[in-house]
């Protein structure tokens, strides 16, 4: 042990001239000046600055001078020796000496490690090329500014807080910016899907290219970076690549010195490491298993450290953190836990016109977390309630409207009283310019339901974000008489809109993704439910056939797996047999597949095809590959889609046959296969009125007669048997195809998801369908045209795509546990 000379104060040596190291020194000085002689080592050749403000420096909103926390005079005034630009490379705890890169050694009585964190570099080829930079210190900013001065393309790897701030800065400096993010949602650690989607849309609107689910394979370049290649083969040109995928506590020095290190340097509640004379603070430490990468915990740690060193007990108990994105004009706030769970309740407010999303997560009358987008004014208020664990039961109803509203006292805390207090000329519905006075007059005039108000004065009839206000006004005017009843049933519990409202909005507002619909129509849940997600996926697919991007997680299991799940969890596989016609070769391939994959039963279906039962999900891609090889494709026997076209043998063989029903059936199946519908859709063609193909209980049936073809619609077997209605009679096969396509398209565009044709026709009436498909020739041709256009994009064999490796994870286990061994983890 080296004791300090009696005439000299103990020597405190700080490794790290960053925010944590200097703040700790400030806190110590504030408690007791002159207790220590202080030396600070800094790796960067400059004074102490505010690292979190590097983003505004990059963006050109601030200069380096603006973000200096402590200038040279602070060091002199406090007698602090600053050794900058000379990083410490070794600690000798036995001799109590630290050694710097220059060879300089300094002895200490107390050592404080505040080395912060290091940027994480993803280990891909090309990561060391000139032009690949991180975003950690002023040197990095200078490198980015130098590159930005030349213009060109910047690729930022990482769509978290740091990456997006770097991207924003580079975009403002005039570069074409592409952000690559591995996860499906930007800032997924701070934001939920809905807020992440809003953020992505806004950044895209500003001209940045955002690629989510983007897995970097390689950084390409001869002498310097030229491009980034993704695992899917996409290449993005790049003059500079910023790695901002994350940070890791910088623990190398501590580890080499033999201190206890987990994910960070392990410290107690007063920031003391496993060596009583060595302390550590900031992003490099691990406290009770937690490491922090944000600034707020650091202030709290520094207070406990300084109190501990100056003899006061003030244990650090960990931090609850909140995040704000520093991108000008975009307000994002996140705090606490928003993962939900039992007993958690979401309070969601969406305002599509103002681009606002607010979600507060409440459990047992306390706030657990908050995610705010677009209006973050109340972020700190929620965060404060969260940290204090305050009981919010009294202000719960008004909580989501913010502090001003909720804390307005007893009267206004109740939303009914709040609308009562509004003046008559207060605008309720911004879309249609309807004031409170007009809504009240309309209610007084007899509009006693939301639908009645919508149809009489148009309030909440457009975007719907004022639905809640209108309902509150109804409640205020009618009291208990208002039970919230609707004429038309809303789509599901996540929304007050009907299926028809939602479909109309998708077209009107050009909504193309599920989160876009949920935001525009003020969904009350963050990510929908198992009822609305598949419906929305279908509505989007139907509205935008060319652009639609499938969301496999919004498909029911059978459509996600392209096979029918059975009660034991295995699947059944049905290859398509066009018009129910097969060949010896196809039958041999089916028999071989049944043997090879252990099908426990082979069954002839009601739709004239063969069903192989008991196939394991892991085997699906290979059985499909085998069936593809014999020329067969998916029969969509599992989908809300065109199923099968059943035929009889018709005029080619049958003595009663009037037309080639088999041939027409094959033509119909070739035209309609692959089409997704609101529900399953079956077709049959019978060669004569004896109707052996049972065309009168199909969604679309054809009965051949001598003079042509009778077209039948709206039949089904099932629980409620319904025979078809006669749509019309046509003379040629071409007409039969055109009417069939037009009818299907009308059904696709207008029926509610999970409505079969029978209940749909009962609801809209056969006359309506005839008017659209039979009487209006132009309309029919337009419907038929839209159907054929959609088919261009839908007629892809999903089995071939899966057999080629698409969505392989759906068919594989993530790993396997054998007793005392794990196999297959990659």
């Amino acid at each position: 042990m080296i004791a300090s000379p009696p005439d000299q104060k103990p020597h405190l040596v700080v490794i790290g001239n960053g925010m944590a190291g200097c703040r700790a020194v400030e806190e110590i000085l504030a408690r007791e000046t002159g207790k220590f002689r202080i030396t600070i080592f800094g790796a960067e050749p400059r004074v102490n600055y505010n690292r979190i403000m590097l983003s505004p420096v990059l963006a050109g909103e601030k200069s380096f001078e603006d973000i200096i926390i402590n200038g040279p005079e602070w060091y002199t005034e406090n007698g602090i020796a600053l050794i900058s630009g000379d990083p410490v490379v070794g600690i000798d705890r036995a001799a109590k000496i630290v050694t710097a890169k220059s060879g300089k050694t300094v002895s200490y009585n107390k050592l404080l490690i505040a080395t912060g964190s290091d940027p994480f570099i993803i280990p891909v080829p090309g990561k060391d090329l000139p032009g690949v930079v991180t975003f950690r210190d002023l040197d990095d900013v200078d490198k980015m500014l130098a590159a930005a001065g030349l213009g060109g393309n910047a690729v930022v790897i990482g769509g978290g807080l740091l990456g997006l701030e770097a991207a924003h800065g580079l975009a403002l400096r005039g570069m074409q910016v592409t952000v690559l993010h591995l996860m499906p949602t930007l800032m997924e650690r701070q934001l939920d899907e809905a807020a992440g989607w809003l953020l992505k849309s806004e950044l895209e609107r500003r001209g940045q290219k955002i690629l989510t689910g983007a897995d970097t394979a390689e950084i390409i370049g001869m002498k310097k970076v030229e491009a980034v290649r993704l695992k899917d083969g996409t290449e993005i040109p790049a003059d500079i690549v910023v790695m901002a995928v994350g940070i890791r506590p910088s623990t190398r020095l501590a580890k080499e010195a033999g201190l206890a290190v987990g994910r960070g340097i392990q410290v107690d509640d007063h920031m003391v490491t496993s060596d009583a004379d060595v302390l550590a603070v900031g992003e490099c430490v691990e406290h009770q298993g937690q490491v922090y990468g944000l600034v707020a915990p650091l202030w709290e740690m520094c207070r406990s450290l300084a109190d501990g060193l100056t003899g006061t007990k003030n244990p650090y108990t960990g931090s609850v953190t909140s995040t704000k994105l520093k991108v000008s004009g975009i307000d994002v706030f996140s705090a606490g836990d928003f993962s939900g769970g039992d007993g958690c309740e979401d309070i969601v407010l969406r305002d599509a016109t103002r681009g606002i999303y607010k979600r507060v997560i409440v459990k047992d009358d306390k706030i657990l977390g908050a995610v705010l987008y677009g209006d973050t004014a109340d972020g700190n208020w929620y965060f404060d309630l969260l940290k204090k664990g305050e009981d919010i039961s009294d202000i719960r109803d008004a909580l989501i409207f913010g502090q001003a509203f909720a804390s307005g006292g007893g009267a206004t805390a109740n939303p009914i009283d709040a609308v009562a207090a509004l003046p008559d000329d207060a605008e309720i519905c911004g879309c249609n310019g309807v004031s409170k006075g007009k809504v009240m007059a309309c209610i007084a005039g007899g509009a006693h339901t939301l639908d009645a108000v919508r149809s009489t004065c148009k309030a909440s009839a457009s975007c719907g974000s004022c639905t809640g206000l209108v309902e509150n006004l109804l409640q205020f005017a009618l009291g208990d008489e208002f039970a919230g009843e609707r004429d038309a049933k809303p789509m599901c519990k996540c929304t007050s809109f009907t299926h028809e409202d939602v479909r109309a909005a998708i077209l009107e507002k050009s909504l193309k993704e599920i989160p876009a619909v949920m935001q525009a129509l003020s969904w009350s849940t963050p990510d929908g439910c198992s009822s609305c997600r598949p419906a929305l996926n279908y509505y989007l697919l139907c509205a935008w056939p060319a652009e639609h991007k499938e969301d496999p997680q919004s498909r029911f299991v059978n459509e996600r797996m392209h096979a029918n799940i059975q009660k034991d969890g295995t699947y059944s596989v049905v290859p398509r047999m066009w018009g129910g016609v097969t060949t010896p070769n196809e039958l041999r391939a089916i028999a071989d597949a049944a043997d090879k994959y252990g099908a426990r039963m082979v069954k002839v279906t009601g739709g004239q095809r063969l069903d192989l039962f008991g196939i394991k999900k892991e085997d699906l891609p290979s059985i499909w590959a085998d069936l593809n090889a014999a020329g067969m494709v998916s029969g969509h026997a599992y989908g809300k889609a065109l199923r099968t076209v059943k035929t009889c043998v018709g005029s080619e063989w049958c003595r009663f046959g009037t037309q080639d029903s088999t041939g027409l059936g094959i033509l119909l199946e070739q035209m309609t296969w692959g089409s997704w519908m609101p529900h399953k859709f079956k077709i049959a063609v019978s060669g004569c009125p004896r109707n052996c193909a049972e065309a009168t209980i199909k969604d679309f049936g054809v009965i051949c007669v001598d003079s042509g073809y009778e077209l039948l619609v709206g039949g089904n077997g099932g629980i409620h048997l319904r025979g078809t209605d006669l749509l019309c009679k046509v003379a040629t096969e071409e007409e039969a195809l055109e009417y069939c396509g037009a009818f299907i398209q009308l059904y696709r565009e207008e029926a509610r998801y999970l409505d079969r044709t029978a209940p749909w026709i009962e609801r809209v009436g056969l006359d309506y369908v005839k008017a659209k498909v039979v009487e209006d020739e132009e309309g029919r041709k337009a419907l038929y045209g839209r159907f054929l256009h959609a088919q261009k994009h839908l007629q892809k064999d999903p089995w071939a795509e899966r057999a080629a490796g698409k969505e392989a994870h759906l068919h594989q286990h993530i790993a396997e546990i054998r007793p005392f061994a794990v196999v297959g983890a990659n």
Binding site: L182, M183, P184, T185, E188, R189, L191, D192, E193, D215, R263, F338, S339, G340, G341, D342, C344, D346, T525, P526, D527, G528, C529, S530, R533, P534, P552, Q553, S554, F556, V557, N558, R560, M561, I565, K567, G569, H809, Q812, H813, I814, A815, E816, I817, R818, P819, V822, G824, A825, N826
Partner: protein
């Protein structure tokens, strides 16, 4: 960090958001590992308490999965059936460390004969 108590079963990016993957246990009950919209990970025995449907194939929303066989809604947090249905499926502690999914060995092996 793989210890005797936690088994590393792979990187978290192998789990699709709002989706699930399966983890067979030789001689025991298959486990389903779920990921919610905001990235939280949960594990349940892959059997609906109703008719043993594979929960891994259901639709995940919030912290709930809807069974693909008969639409029972099961809490990913507690394994309890929600709404009017009654039943419960065992949960298995699972956590993420350094981008890897770790599952508790004890509960994972509990279903073994």
């Amino acid at each position: 960090m793989v210890t005797a108590d936690w088994l590393d079963i792979g990187p978290v990016d192998q789990l699709p958001a709002l989706g699930a993957r399966t983890l067979p246990v030789q001689g025991g009950d298959e486990i389903a590992i779920f990921r919610t919209a905001n990235g939280s990970v949960y594990a349940l025995v892959n059997k609906c308490p109703h008719k043993q449907g594979p929960l891994s194939q259901g639709i995940v929303h919030d912290t709930t999965v809807t069974c693909p066989l008969h639409n029972w809604r099961i809490s990913l947090v507690s394994g309890e059936a929600l709404g009017d249905d009654v039943g419960c499926v065992p949960t298995i502690p699972v956590k993420i460390d350094g981008g890897r999914i770790l599952i508790s060995r004890k509960e994972a092996l509990q279903g073994m004969a």
